[in-house]
């Protein structure tokens, strides 16, 4: 065996807004899993909101381009491609990066603005979604090799989210947006079953500013998706976008309220971010993956109670949810 020095893959780790503010444990899970996979994550000092494609791009493209370019320029200083965990951030940063590398006029405009704060967009890095890093950069086989235990046929409703695959032209999925398979493959190598459900590629309901603007329409989307998942016999929902996660998690509580009379019973699907399940299958401890919620925490994510399902899963893996919960309370106090 030769001992060639292997340079670990490196990425500028872009957090966005929803994860730090709503789902900080997703950042924890992703950091730990990527570390375990030998990926170096460089923090992006001073990164701001991406800004959100639905809210900003729809109203003010120059501002959207400029703020996006500022974020990309931080990764350029890092000399490492961007990895984002959020579909919305991916949509913005990828599109901004693409437009500015291909349109000199826009680049000149943006660089005039950035000059005021001593920054410059050079177009020297790529923007990647966590899914692309896992599936393409590291490769599905690396993930398969890293998995040490199976999650026992857990029936997952995989939700891709819109910006991950559309518009397909500048995304790395070979033009596939109607019936992609990469996320399902990533879920299935964990020993889970990705259940086929209708309208899988449909929006969660949150994006495009709809959640902020017309909540009832937004939740009607969510209601339909949840019903389709229930019809297909899913046990939980797996996402790779924190905004979809919020909509499908908190949204269940909301749907159970406002659509009480239209649905056949309240929904209670635990919603997991992909790296939480990946870490578990890689043999990592639930504490490292943000899977244990203190019993005394109310009104904070995750909103849907995950305890019943996790108790079942943990039993097969040799953990006791209740005990871990008690330990975590002690550890904090």
């Amino acid at each position: 065996m030769s001992h060639e020095e292997v340079i670990p893959p490196e990425y500028s780790f872009y957090l966005g807004c929803v994860i730090p503010n709503r789902y900080p444990f997703v950042e924890q899970a992703t950091r730990n899993v990527m570390n375990e996979l030998g990926v170096r994550l460089k923090d992006m000092e001073g990164a701001s909101c991406c800004p959100a494609p639905g809210v900003f791009r729809s109203f003010d493209i120059p501002t959207w381009l400029t703020i996006g370019a500022r974020n990309v320029s931080i990764a350029e200083e890092n000399k490492a491609d961007i990895m984002t965990m959020c579909n919305g951030c991916y949509g913005t940063l990828l599109e901004v990066n693409h437009q500015l590398t291909h349109d000199e006029q826009k680049r000149t405009f943006v660089n005039e603005q950035l000059k005021k704060i001593d920054r410059k967009f050079a177009g020297s890095v790529k923007v990647k979604h966590l899914a692309e890093v896992l599936y393409k950069d590291l490769g599905i086989n690396t993930i398969r090799d890293a998995v040490t235990r199976t999650l026992g046929g857990l029936k997952c409703a995989v939700h891709y989210g819109c910006h991950l695959t559309k518009p397909s032209e500048i995304r790395p999925w070979d033009g596939e947006c109607e019936d992609p398979k990469f996320f399902d493959e990533l879920v299935e190598v964990l020993g889970c079953e990705s259940v086929a459900y209708r309208d899988k590629q449909m929006c969660c309901g949150a994006g495009g500013g709809v959640r902020s603007a017309i909540k009832e329409v937004s939740l009607d989307f969510t209601r339909h998706k949840l019903e389709m998942m229930r019809e297909a016999g899913a046990e939980c929902i797996v996402v790779m976008c924190p905004f979809c996660m919020l909509q499908l998690d908190l949204g269940q509580i909301e749907v159970n309220g406002i659509f009480k009379d239209e649905i056949s019973g309240p929904f209670a699907f635990p919603v997991f971010y992909y790296t939480q399940l990946l870490g578990l299958a890689m043999g990592m401890h639930p504490n490292e993956l943000g899977l244990i919620k203190r019993h005394d925490l109310k009104g904070v994510p995750p909103y849907v109670n995950q305890e019943p399902l996790l108790t079942q899963i943990f039993q097969k893996l040799g953990y006791d949810y209740k005990q871990l919960q008690k330990q975590s309370v002690k550890a904090v106090s």
């Binding site: 033009g175 109607e178 019936d179």
Partner: protein, 659 residues
């Protein structure tokens, strides 16, 4: 010599095509300043009779002895002006055409000054060039009175029959074991509802029996050499493993053959054996053994099975060489494969089929004997939805083609009417973008479908389909853009109206024949309006869907057109070809053989006695490779001699042109 040069420059307005952009008076003044120019004239349409007469009169009056016409592309009118010049008694090679339309006014429409500068450069170059041109005599070559027709569909069949009737010998080459093409797969034809087989099979038989037609099925063109009138074609007759003289077509071999494979004639809806006849009316009617699937069990070769002893396991491909005068390419098309359009679920759901499969289901000699059923339960569907423009009229990359396939509207309406005739209670939906019923009797056919048959037309491109897991019905989701409302409809069977696309081997065929393709992948005609069946390679014609999507009447019309064009050449018996061949200067040739190794056409031989290379003018295509290769500059090419090219370059460089 220079003193004798009298160059006439004739400026064409081409209506407003040129004069609308370029100031013609300024161009006239400019042309007068060029060396050796004696006459400059402008006219609205130089190609008209009057325009041509202006040139002729000046030549006859002795005012000019070299002609430059600044007009359109020489591809368009060089032959016109050459004829005029020749008619006035001047050598037609002392002419040159400056293309100030395509190369100047059209491309620089919004930059009048720029267009004018480019036009001046073109005229400057052509004036310089004609001053060095030499009179040449065109070569005349004989045209062999035989035509090679490639592709035995309805187009090839008609072309072959028309030529054979005029007593020209036709070699009809077809790659599958039978002629008939896609038309043989169709049940009925719109708008007359003629039975396809009933009108096609007699023609197939005529081809087989005609004394002037050599039918070469299960064969492919291997190579083509030579030029108009004198092509040397090698045809590979693929091993059929059946002695075609002994085979009686009894079919015992297929009955006993133990190997079943999907039948391509029925698009996988039925199975055939490894020993097979594609369909009952196949012509010629002898069997073929498909060696890709044959397991060499020997059953069919047993004397009790094949009594005439026609099975030949040791059969081999045969190469046949043919002397051919003209070639007609009628290779047809492939139906579009809808698999990449995931939203239609073709590879996912049993009850989503293509229109070609529907055609086989409707056919009386198809897998269901003309009673369509849906694949999931083999029951007759109570509702059918047709989705139009699948793979057509889509500008998104990777989703098919930009063009309209021209037949799908009509075949969908036809299939819908056929099903409705037998199942009046069935609900039929057609999701369309526009209904293009443009042919003779087509609009009437469409109107009746909607009014009398009660077929529901919904304008809207479908968003997606999904399967009902219980009864395997297909839900269709889209928008009715006329009512501006979302629609969700369930149908027992979905038929994708797939478009027509260029055959997968079109690239190989194009390079084999040195013909061009248009952006859409089909073969390119020499002129879209006036030379629709000619190619830019003399003696080679195209017809049918190989040139672009079209229905049967149009394909047959083109077949007849191509046959007529080929007959013109063969009836004359000889053809003029341009004398642009290369010549070896024997005094300078060192006999190094460099040119011989480089010549792509095998036109150069070595004369051992003289120790020099010699070029056969009839074989030389004037590509100029040998001129560039010769290390001592001993080869020159007629009409493109070094001094002729040199002066063109110098004329622009010296005058500081835009280049």
């Amino acid at each position: 010599m220079e003193d004798d040069l009298k160059i006439g420059v004739y400026l064409c307005h081409c209506g407003v095509n040129i004069a609308g952009v370029i100031d013609m008076d300024e161009l006239e003044e400019f042309s007068k300043t060029l060396a050796n120019v004696s006459v400059v004239k402008q006219y609205k349409f130089m190609c008209s009779d009057t325009g041509q007469s202006m040139i002729k009169d000046d030549i006859k009056a002795g005012l000019v002895n070299r002609v430059v016409v600044a007009a359109c592309s020489p591809r368009m009118h060089e032959p016109t002006f050459r004829r005029a010049i020749e008619g006035a008694g001047m050598n037609k090679f002392l002419f040159s055409q400056a293309n100030i339309r395509e190369h100047s006014s059209w491309i620089s429409m919004n930059d009048k000054q720029g267009a004018s500068r480019i036009a001046k450069d073109h005229i400057r170059m052509e004036v310089a060039k004609v001053s060095k041109l030499e009179p040449l005599e065109p070569q005349k070559v004989k045209v062999t009175p035989s035509c090679l027709v490639i592709g035995g569909g309805i187009t090839g069949i008609n072309a072959a029959l028309d030529l054979a009737e005029q007593n020209f010998h036709v070699y009809l080459v077809e790659t599958t074991p039978t002629i008939g093409g896609h038309m043989a797969q169709l049940d009925k034809t719109f708008p007359t509802m003629d039975c396809s087989a009933c009108i096609l099979t007699p023609k197939m038989v005529d081809v087989n029996q005609h004394k002037n037609i050599t039918l070469m099925v299960y064969s492919e063109v291997d190579s083509i050499e030579g030029y108009v009138g004198n092509f040397k074609v090698t045809v590979r007759q693929k091993a059929r493993y059946v002695d075609t003289i002994k085979c009686t077509g009894c079919g015992e071999c297929a009955i006993k053959c133990p190997v079943s494979v999907p039948n391509e004639f029925d698009l996988g809806l039925s199975v055939r054996k490894a020993a097979y006849l594609p369909f009952p009316q196949a012509v010629p009617g002898y069997y073929t053994i498909d060696m890709d699937h044959c397991i060499l069990c020997g059953i069919c070769a047993d004397p009790s099975v094949c009594e005439p002893d026609a099975i030949r396991y040791d059969d081999k491909d045969k190469l046949v060489e043919l002397d051919i005068g003209t070639i007609i390419v009628s290779t047809g098309y492939d139906p579009f494969d809808p698999t990449p359009l995931k939203e239609y679920g073709f590879d996912k759901y049993d009850n989503v089929i293509t229109a070609m499969q529907m055609e086989r289901l409707l056919s009386s000699y198809g897998p269901t004997l003309g009673k369509p059923v849906r694949p999931s339960d083999l029951e007759a569907p109570h509702s059918i939805a047709f989705i139009q423009c699948v793979g057509s009229r889509d500008f998104h990359p990777g989703r098919g083609h930009k063009y309209c396939s021209r037949v799908c509207c009509m075949y969908a309406i036809k299939q819908a009417r056929q099903y409705k005739e037998k199942h009046p209670e069935a609900k039929i939906y057609i999701f369309y973008m526009d209904v293009r019923a443009f042919g003779k009797g087509y609009e009437e056919f469409y109107e009746i479908a909607a009014r009398e048959y009660g077929i529901t037309f919904i304008r809207g491109r479908l968003a997606e389909v999904y399967e009902d897991p219980i009864d395997k019905g297909i839900w269709l989701r889209g928008e009715d853009t006329l009512l501006q409302t979302p629609v969700e409809i369930k149908a027992d069977l979905v038929v994708l109206s797939v478009g027509l696309e260029a055959r997968k081997d079109a690239d190989q065929v194009a390079s084999l024949l040195s013909i061009q393709k248009t952006e859409d992948g089909f073969f390119m005609e020499a002129h879209p309006k006036l030379r629709p069946v000619d190619t830019l390679t003399d003696g080679i014609f195209i017809a049918g869907v190989a040139q672009g999507p079209k229905d049967i009447p149009d394909a047959v019309a083109q077949a007849k057109g191509a046959a007529s064009s080929a007959a013109v050449l063969m009836a004359k018996g000889e053809v003029e070809i341009e004398p642009y061949y290369s010549i070896v200067d024997a005094d300078h040739c060192t006999g190094c053989h460099s040119c011989i190794s480089q010549c792509p056409f095998g036109a150069i031989t070595f004369n051992k006695f003289k120790g020099v290379s010699e070029i056969n003018p009839a074989k030389c295509k004037g590509c100029g490779t040998c001129v560039a290769t010769c290390p001592v500059g001993a080869i020159s090419q007629n009409h493109f001699k070094e001094e002729q090219l040199d002066i063109i370059i110098r004329s622009v460089l010296k005058e500081g042109g835009v280049y």
